[in-house]
């Protein structure tokens, strides 16, 4: 028994050393969630990256959310439309439609939002960004998570079952027409 434990110890140490975060979002401390799109694969779109941190709060408390939008463009304008999940109340004076002038010196734009919710769970603040440069316009959408209270237990889908192969399947009814062929 002792031997097993001793054998396991170095293995666990090694496994621990090799462990990597698996999600984009990481917890820096228990109350702040942060994330970034910088360095991540992105589909074509407006040349904008987003970095955020968001304080986790209890229902009814105000969360402080700091968002920074950074563009590789050196000219033009960046328009930002902010939309809140229905369960979120915007508690800040930040306008929901913003326009920034992009210059070689000014490519990074901080946005601070205070928001609250009476509902526990994961909610989202969505940013639709648009860079206009000459005649061309490109868009990119971002979603900033806002964590309120205890996460809602994930409802187990009644539609998940096992196929004969053992694979999980998510089943739903299609529209079906049946006709007998004479």
């Amino acid at each position: 028994m002792k031997k097993t434990k001793l054998l396991l110890a170095p293995l666990l140490i090694i496994m621990g050393l090799q462990a990597k975060p698996t999600e984009d979002t990481k917890v820096e401390n228990s109350n702040i969630k942060s994330g970034t799109t910088i360095g991540h694969y992105q589909k074509p779109g407006a040349p904008i990256d987003m970095t955020y941190d968001s304080t986790k709060v209890n229902a009814g408390e105000v969360s402080d959310i700091n968002i920074t939008l950074t563009t590789s463009a050196t000219s033009g304008t960046m328009q930002v439309s902010i939309a809140f999940d229905e369960a979120i109340k915007n508690e800040s004076n930040t306008e929901e439609n913003l326009t920034f002038e992009i210059t070689p010196e000014q490519r990074s734009f901080p946005i601070n939002i205070q928001a609250s919710s009476l509902e526990d769970g994961l909610h989202y603040i969505r940013l639709l960004t648009k860079v206009d440069k000459g005649t061309a316009s490109k868009l990119r959408a971002f979603a900033v998570p806002m964590y309120v209270g205890e996460p809602k237990p994930k409802a187990k889908s009644a539609n998940i079952m096992k196929a004969m192969s053992g694979e999980n399947i998510s089943v739903s009814k299609a529209v079906e027409t049946i006709e007998v062929i004479e």
Binding site: K3, L6, I14, T37, G45, A136, S137, L139, I160, V171
Partner: protein, 544 residues
């Protein structure tokens, strides 16, 4: 009595002849089509078409939940399940999966719910005594149609490749889509997964077929050609690292090539945008531009002539370059390697290829390294590959953030060198204009092409490491992790003659092997040693 026997005989005959029945039918899904208005594109809920679900798996499931027959739909979405038992309750089940042995294996799963494969089915109904037809359709108003729409886009792409090369076998591909993919983004992970954004209140991509094909293009490049792209954010007006510019331009062009529709679009809730991969306004064209790359590739392919495009190669010549010389090229994959190989394979079309390339303000491409470029870029840009002689320092190799950081032009500088004798080589990179940078480097063996070393210390102003390098040609990729506005370096491989003096002299030694896959064995042995040496001590103690 005679009558009674006759009836029994009739019933028996009837049972025998109808003991097996066939069920056939069509599987279809609704697709929401785009509506373009200038540079804006939205999904048009007034333009929903019914499409055939091609090559998807169909099963007959009995009342016990067991599959009693299986098949796939054809290219018309039609299936036939034959010799099913009569008067037996079965339901038709359709999987969001295309599988054909030694050909393809693609499925759409919910990555937030046990990687469950999406399935739709009909009702449990008796097969009766006659053949019957059961048609199943998914509606766009539900989450049932997206998995089949995604498969439709992928099948279209696979068909284009199969026309060029019928022997192709597509490696397994998993499409990860769910309405819960709010933050995931849409991207290819470099292996066998494509993540697809599905936020129904924001950005969802399931009906954006050009995006599906763009990402599939990255999968194709990685699996059949070679993808040296370093990834990261990008857009058409950027001065990009040449590897990224080619990868993204290829993805964009392919979306137009596969659909024969040059309007690439991305819808987002009630918004969206589009670009014409053939004729968009030239915004900072050049060999560093993904937009130039996409226009060149699309114009090489298409049958539509315009001012400078008088070539209609079709897909096959492009495919043959990608799976041939582009895969084995000794330089990083870029527009230079692609065009050089295409011109070699299509010597009669050289002038027309040059004309298409020239329309992007790109001087004639004559080699894989992009020599003889025009001076329409930041001065430190050229040459794109700096040749280096062993034991002789190159003193003015500069990175910069003029065009942005991370993956933009001049964030990485390429140095090519030859090793004529296998031995240990110290590699020294020293900043010559201060100590503001954090230079790091990777070394790529060029045949077969692969990364063989990576040195990423946190040392400011310099990077030193010694590697044992076998005979061959190499490329060193130098970059500044500190994103200094402009950092110039002295680079030396071998003896220290000519290297700039440096007080911050941190150095380490290594063999190429530590980063080579085969030396994972050494790492494994080391791990085993760490595990078992303490155990030996314990054993000794117990014996005592």
């Amino acid at each position: 009595m005679k009558n009674k026997w006759s009836i029994l005989l009739l019933v028996l005959l009837s049972t025998l002849s109808l003991s097996a029945v066939n069920i056939s039918g069509t599987i279809s899904y609704e697709r929401i089509n785009p509506l373009h208005n200038g540079s804006s594109t939205i999904l048009d809920y007034n333009n929903i078409t019914t499409e055939k679900a091609k090559q998807v798996i169909v099963e007959a499931i009995n009342s016990s939940g067991n599959s009693i027959a299986t098949t796939s739909t054809d290219d018309n979405g039609e299936y036939l399940l034959s010799s099913l038992p009569s008067n037996t309750n079965i339901k038709i089940r359709v999987y969001a999966k295309m599988f054909k042995s030694s050909k393809w294996d693609v499925k759409v799963v919910d990555n937030t719910n046990g990687n469950a494969l999406y399935v739709v089915e009909g009702d449990l109904t008796s097969t009766g005594t006659s053949n019957s037809q059961r048609n199943l359709k998914t509606l766009a108003s539900t989450t049932q149609s997206p998995p089949f729409a995604i498969l439709g886009s992928i099948y279209l792409a696979m068909q284009k490749v199969l026309v060029a090369d019928s022997s192709v076998v597509f490696p397994t591909l998993k499409m990860n889509w769910t309405v819960n993919n709010v933050e995931s983004g849409t991207y290819y992970d470099g292996h066998e997964n494509i993540m697809i954004q599905g936020d129904q209140n924001g950005d969802s991509d399931e009906y954006d077929d050009h995006i599906m094909i763009h990402e599939w293009g990255h999968y194709f490049e990685a699996k059949f050609s070679r993808a040296d792209s370093i990834g990261g954010g990008h857009t058409s007006g950027d001065h990009l690292d040449i590897r990224l510019a080619f990868g993204e331009g290829w993805g964009n062009a392919l979306s137009g090539i596969i659909t024969d529709d040059p309007i690439y679009f991305d819808t987002m809730s009630s918004s969206g945008w589009n670009m014409n991969v053939e004729s968009a306004t030239h915004d900072t064209p050049g060999w560093f531009s993904e937009a130039s790359t996409q226009r060149i590739l699309y114009n090489l392919y298409d049958s539509h002539d315009d001012t400078t495009d008088h070539l209609s190669l079709g897909f096959k010549p492009i495919y043959e370059v990608l799976v041939g010389p582009q895969k084995t090229t000794k330089a990083f994959t870029s527009l230079f390697t692609f065009i050089t190989a295409l011109k070699e394979k299509q010597p009669s079309s050289t002038q027309k290829i040059d004309a298409i390339v020239g329309n992007e303000e790109i001087a004639t491409i004559d080699d894989i390294y992009g020599t003889n470029r025009l001076n329409n870029v930041e001065a430190i840009t050229l040459p794109i590959y700096t040749p280096l002689t062993i034991n002789r320092a190159e003193n003015n190799i500069c990175t910069s953030t003029t065009y942005g950081v991370s993956n933009k032009l001049n964030n990485h500088k390429y140095i090519k060198f030859d090793i004529n004798e296998k031995k240990s080589y110290p590699i020294e990179i020293v900043q010559t204009n201060g100590r503001t940078s954090d230079p790091d480097f990777a070394i790529f063996q060029t045949y077969p092409f692969k990364q063989v070393a990576l040195s990423e210390s946190d040392t400011k102003g310099s990077e030193r490491k010694t590697y044992t390098l076998p005979i061959g040609s190499y490329i060193l990729d130098l970059y500044d992790m500190q994103n200094t506005k402009k950092a110039c370096f002295s680079v030396n491989i071998g003896d220290k003659s000519g290297i700039a003096p440096d007080n911050n002299n941190e150095s380490s030694s290594d063999t190429i092997g530590t980063t080579l896959p085969e030396n994972k064995i050494i790492a494994l042995l080391l791990i085993l040693a760490i595990m078992f040496i303490p155990a030996l001590f314990i054993r000794t103690e117990l014996k005592i």
